[in-house]
Symmetry: C2
Subunit: 340 residues, 2 copies
C-alpha cells in the first residue's frame, strides 16, 4: 500500500507499517531473545512483504564490524594460489565472512596500496601471502596497531604478529635433493628463486645441505638465483647446457619453472631421467599429465588456505591474536622425471 518511491526499504518502514519502534524491528530481525515470538513473526512477515533486505553497510558502521576479510596474494593463476583462495573463501563464508581479493602481482608497491585500501574498508582481518619483492612489512602495521588480525601463509614474515601457515621449505628441498641423489645424480643444480625472499632462501639451503650431507660438491654455477620468470629459466637452462660439467639432476624452486625446463630440455639431446633428472618445488595438475611426468614437492594449497582463514577467524572472534606457526606437511611426489 505505502508504495513510496524511495529506493530502499528500511527497518523504519517496517516499524511504521507495524506501529512499533525501529529498535524492536532490529531486535526481531536479529532474533533477540527478549522479543516475543509473536512480534518477531509479525516483523518477519512484514519484512518480506515490503521486500526488506538488511543493509550491511549501515550495520557495519554501527557495529564497527564489516564481516569482510581482505586477501592479498601475488596472483591467482597458479594451482597453489587458486587452491589457497578457494580454501580461504570456503571457510570464510562458512564463518559468515566475505572475502575481498587483491592481487599484488608480485609488486611491493601495489601490496602497500592494497593494505591501505583494505584498512580503509575496515576489513575485520586479512590473510596475506607476500610478494617476491617484499622485504619489509611496515605496510601491515596499520592492522597491527588497530588490532586487526593478519594471518599469513606460505610467504610469511615473522616480523609481525598473527598466525602463520607454512610448509617446511628447507625440508622439502632437502628431501627433493636427497631423492635426486638417491636416484644416482651426482652433479646437482638448483634453479633458485629471489634470495631476498625467505622461502626461496630456505629451499636453496635445503639443497645445499643435502649436497653437503651426501658429500657431493656444489659445482660452479650450479646454484642460480633468479626471478623464475620465463627468461631467467631459459637463460639458466642454456647456461647449464653449455657447461663442461652440465648437471645431471635439476631441482627448481617453483612449479612453473620446472615445467618450462622440462619442456626446454627437449631441444637438447638429453634423456630424462637417465641423463638428467628433474624435480620441482610446487606441483601443478599438469605435472602428472606430461611425459615424462614431473616429480614435485607438493604443497597443500587448499589446506593452507583453509588453515589461514580458520586461524584468522579465530583471532577475529576470540580476540586471541592467534599467534602461532602452523606447519603443513609437504609431500614428495616421485614421478618419471626423476625415477630411475
Amino acid at each position: 500500500m505505502s508504495d513510496k518511491n524511495k529506493s530502499e526499504v528500511t527497518i523504519n518502514d517496517i516499524a511504521r507499517a507495524l506501529g512499533i519502534s525501529a529498535s524492536t524491528v532490529s531486535r526481531s530481525l536479529n532474533d533477540s531473545s527478549k522479543i516475543s515470538e509473536k512480534t518477531k513473526s509479525r516483523v518477519r512477515e512484514m519484512a518480506v512483504e515490503l521486500g526488506y533486505e538488511l543493509n550491511l553497510v549501515a550495520s557495519s558502521l554501527s557495529k564497527s564490524k564489516t564481516n569482510l576479510i581482505g586477501v592479498i596474494i601475488p596472483r591467482l593463476n597458479s594451482q597453489f594460489f587458486s587452491q589457497a583462495v578457494s580454501g580461504i573463501e570456503e571457510v570464510a563464508r562458512q564463518s559468515g565472512y566475505q572475502i575481498i581479493i587483491c592481487q599484488s602481482n608480485e609488486d611491493f608497491t601495489k601490496e602497500c596500496e592494497m593494505a591501505k585500501v583494505l584498512y580503509s574498508t575496515r576489513v575485520d582481518g586479512v590473510v596475506a601471502c607476500l610478494s617476491k619483492e617484499t622485504t619489509t612489512v611496515e605496510h601491515f602495521n596499520v592492522f597491527i596497531q588497530k588490532k586487526v588480525p593478519v594471518a599469513m601463509f606460505d610467504r610469511v614474515s615473522y616480523a609481525i604478529e598473527g598466525p602463520k601457515v607454512v610448509v617446511d621449505n628447507y625440508e622439502g628441498a632437502y628431501r627433493a635433493t636427497e631423492h635426486l641423489i638417491a636416484s644416482g645424480c651426482t652433479r646437482l643444480a638448483h634453479l633458485a628463486g629471489p634470495q631476498n625472499c625467505k622461502v626461496f632462501q630456505e629451499r636453496a639451503e635445503g639443497f645445499r645441505d643435502a649436497l653437503k650431507k651426501a658429500g657431493l660438491p656444489l659445482l660452479p654455477r650450479h646454484l642460480l638465483a633468479s626471478d623464475l620468470n620465463e627468461k631467467d629459466v631459459r637463460d639458466s637452462m642454456a647456461l647449464w647446457m653449455g657447461l663442461k660439467e652440465a648437471p645431471d639432476g635439476i631441482f627448481t624452486a617453483s612449479a612453473t619453472s620446472g615445467l618450462l625446463m622440462l619442456n626446454l630440455v627437449r631441444n637438447y639431446n638429453v634423456r630424462v631421467p637417465e641423463d638428467m633428472a628433474f624435480i620441482s618445488f610446487g606441483n601443478e595438475p599438469c605435472n602428472e599429465l606430461i611425459t615424462p611426468s614431473l616429480s614435485a614437492v607438493d604443497m597443500p594449497g587448499l589446506d593452507m588456505g583453509k588453515a589461514a582463514a580458520k586461524h584468522l577467524v579465530d583471532a577475529i572472534e576470540k580476540k586471541q591474536n592467534g599467534d602461532g606457526i602452523f606447519l603443513k606437511p609437504i609431500q614428495l611426489l616421485i614421478r618419471n622425471s626423476s625415477f630411475r
Copy 2:
C-alpha cells in the same frame, strides 16, 4: 598531544585540532576545488599527524556507494576462471573498485545465497558466471529491481538485462568438429556438458551441425550428455571403447574432460591421433605440455573478465545499463592430438 584513547581517528578529530569544521576537512580530503590550497595542506598534514585513515564504510553509507563489485563464479581452479577473475580484479581496481569473490561451486542454492548477501553488502554491481545447475535467474532480480547492474560472462542468461560477454560456442564447436573431419575422422563423438546449460547446448549443436554439413552420420551413443565430472568422463570413455563402432575423433565440451580422456586412452591400444583424434573446448596451459599435445578451442578468459568488468563499471558509472552482447573471439589451437 590529544592522545585520546579512542580507537578511531575521525575527521572530527582533525577538525577540532585545527579549529575548523568537519565538512571543511571532508572537502579537503576529497580535494574539493572550493577549498583553499592552504587549508587543504593544513588538513592533510594534520591527518597524517593524527594517523587518520578514511573510513570507507561510513563514506559508503552516506554516499550510498560502496565501490565494491561482487563476483559470482562456479570455481577458481581452472585456467579460464582464474584468468577471468584476474582480469576482473585488474580493471576493477584500476577503476577504484574492490571485488568480493564468491564461488558457487556449481551449486544453484549457493549461487542464490550469494546473490542475497552481495545485495545486502550493497555492492555497486556484480559480475557473474552461472553455475551448471542454474536454469532460472530470479535470484538476480534483487539487483535488477534496485538498478544494480549485473554483467555476465561465459555462462550467461539473456533473461535479465546487463552486458554479456561471451564466445560463440556454436562456432567454436563447429570449427573444432570441422577440423576433426578435415583430419580424416569419420566416426565422431562428442562428450557434451549438461544440456540445461546453454553453452553446452550450443557446443553440442555446433558439433551436430558440422557432422550434418559434412554428410557424416551421428552414430548411436556418440553424443553423450554428462556432468563432465571425473566419473562421467571415465564411464563415457569406457562406453565408447566398448562400442563396435568406436569413435575415431573425440570432441570434449570442457578442457579438463579432454585432458582426462587423453590420459585414459593410454590404457587402450589406440594411437593418438592416428586411430583417435582429440580436441577439447577450453584450453589449459597443460594442453601444450602433454604428449601428445591436446588441441583445443581457446577462450580468452583474461579478456572476457576484463571486458565484463569494464562494461559493468560503465554501467555503474554512466548509468547506462550497458546492455549489449560482447562477443570475444575464440581460437582454434591445433596440436598433435588431432593433427594428422
